[in-house]
Symmetry: C2
């Protein structure tokens, strides 16, 4: 940080622009015209530059002959142009960033959100803002996501349940738990928890969704016994299909188009799983994050409609 004789940090970028203009025009006066200054101003700007460098940057032959760069001036100009180009590039990049058409966005998510919700949002983002670079951090441990949010590792994160402290969030929708069973196992329509109280259960390894679901079942009076646990949702349905048992899963987690299993609303319902999108409280969000939130809300509305259709 300690500089030698020259410390260009005191430099004014205007002076470099003036240097360039004079070098091109060959005359302080014409350069001044071009820049909209008086000749005197340009003279003083170049003088300031030379004071900073400790040496002349132009030879002034006097009379009507044009001024010419000294070797030092030529070295400086070469670097100055590069620097100004860099500054212009910065202006552009930051402008793009500010308007949200470029930038980086890190997103926290968990399995079911990344399975059903995230792909649609990401697809829309990539289509509307192709220059936004997205990075996804997935964890099924809610704590990880909250921590990532707090450290800034992710700027927004999908979460389940209540908004943690120091965050703001939007509620996206409530994801009801549904019963997944063999097609012939129950008549179409709602099923009472009592009807499958004795069925062996298929489920995920304990994570936020799973635990909330189990708590819901217990509060409905059931004591479910799990005969198989896997975090792979298609394996869950496969197990149901094979007759090993039934599953109670968030609607988001099941592939609704699979004709080989039946989905039943649970009636009376067990508490829904609230899906929300959270970010740090009182922090300015990047425009990219704003867009992401907007899109998430919009797409979630579509999901909510879908949910009403089966519930």
């Amino acid at each position: 940080m300690l500089m030698g004789v020259i410390d260009l940090r005191q430099l004014d970028l205007k002076h470099l622009v003036a240097l360039d203009a004079v070098a091109v025009e060959g005359t302080f006066g014409r350069a001044a015209d071009r820049l909209g200054y008086s000749q005197s101003a340009v003279s003083q700007q170049i003088a300031a530059l030379e004071r900073l460098l400790g040496d002349r940057v132009f030879d002034r032959p006097g009379g009507p002959r044009p001024v010419v760069l000294t070797p030092l001036g030529a070295e400086l100009l070469e670097r100055a142009r590069e620097l100004l180009a860099r500054v212009d590039a910065m202006s552009l990049e930051l402008d793009l960033f500010r308007t949200g058409s470029a930038g980086k966005l890190s997103i926290g998510t968990f399995q079911s959100a990344s399975a059903m919700l995230l792909p649609r949002i990401v697809a829309r983002m990539r289509q509307q803002f192709p220059s936004i670079e997205m990075h996804v951090v997935e964890s099924d441990a809610e704590d990880d996501l909250i921590r990532a949010l707090a450290t800034g590792e992710v700027e927004v994160s999908f979460l389940v349940g209540e908004a943690p402290p120091d965050t703001e969030s939007v509620h996206l929708f409530d994801d009801p738990y549904v019963l997944v069973a063999r097609p012939d196992q129950f008549p179409e329509g709602p099923v009472d928890p009592a009807q499958f109280a004795d069925e062996p259960m298929i489920g995920q390894h304990p994570n936020a969704c799973q635990l909330i679901g189990e708590a819901g079942l217990r509060s409905a009076g059931l004591s479910p016994t799990y005969v198989y646990r896997t975090n792979d949702n298609s394996t869950v349905t496969a197990m149901v299909r094979s007759g090993m048992g039934v599953a109670v899963m968030p609607f988001l987690c099941v592939e609704p188009e699979d004709p080989r299993v039946a989905l039943h609303p649970i009636e009376p319902p067990i508490p829904e799983r609230s899906i929300l999108l959270a970010w740090r409280q009182n922090r300015t969000r990047s425009p990219a994050a704003e867009r992401f939130v907007e899109l998430a809300v919009e797409i979630s509305r579509g999901f909510a409609g879908q949910l009403r259709a089966i519930a």
Copy 2:
């Protein structure tokens, strides 16, 4: 050149330094202490930055909590640090250039100078200033060299004879023409031009050195007939050795250690060839060029002594 919303060319580098300090310290006040400003000043500097960008670069939570970068601020800081590093590098580079310990130097030269003089100077330069990058332009047409000097393609150039207009120069030494003959051809010591008036001559294709030499011979009353011309000096001596003829060459051009040819001063002498080092008049020379001139003078003095020894 027309900027969008943001034009960082109006930016003051001090503001970027302040941005960095605040980001590191977490507080306007501590950043101010570090920078030697008042808290108010830093506050205003950041405000100026934000005015320029059109958006906040820090979130100010209020109270004793530290300020934190907004996403835009983080993007800016990343680029700002890069830019400041570049500026510091520029300071260093220009300082090295200014003191002559680094830089570029283009040198104009012609055959005999590049054969005998240039290697020694270049060697000393490379040894004393290893970071100076030298570029040599060689031409046996004096006009080319003068033109290169005028356009700035070379900053200094070796020349023969008189200094052209618009140049300054130092006289390095006078290079006498010597007779190159077979060892048994003449008795050791000076030879009168009349003694080899009828000998067939070996010489170079017409260039500055050669023409000056021929003119000298003619003014001494000779009408030399050339039976072989080559620009390769060792071929000239080889031809002399083979008995094809004798050569009159600038002393600089002959390899003085070759025992298979004899060198004779010419007495009365034909006009010497004045060797000088020239540069553009009234132009600031780069420190590298100054060093080069100094070294050239110094080394030429050694040559002059060597010349006196045989003349």
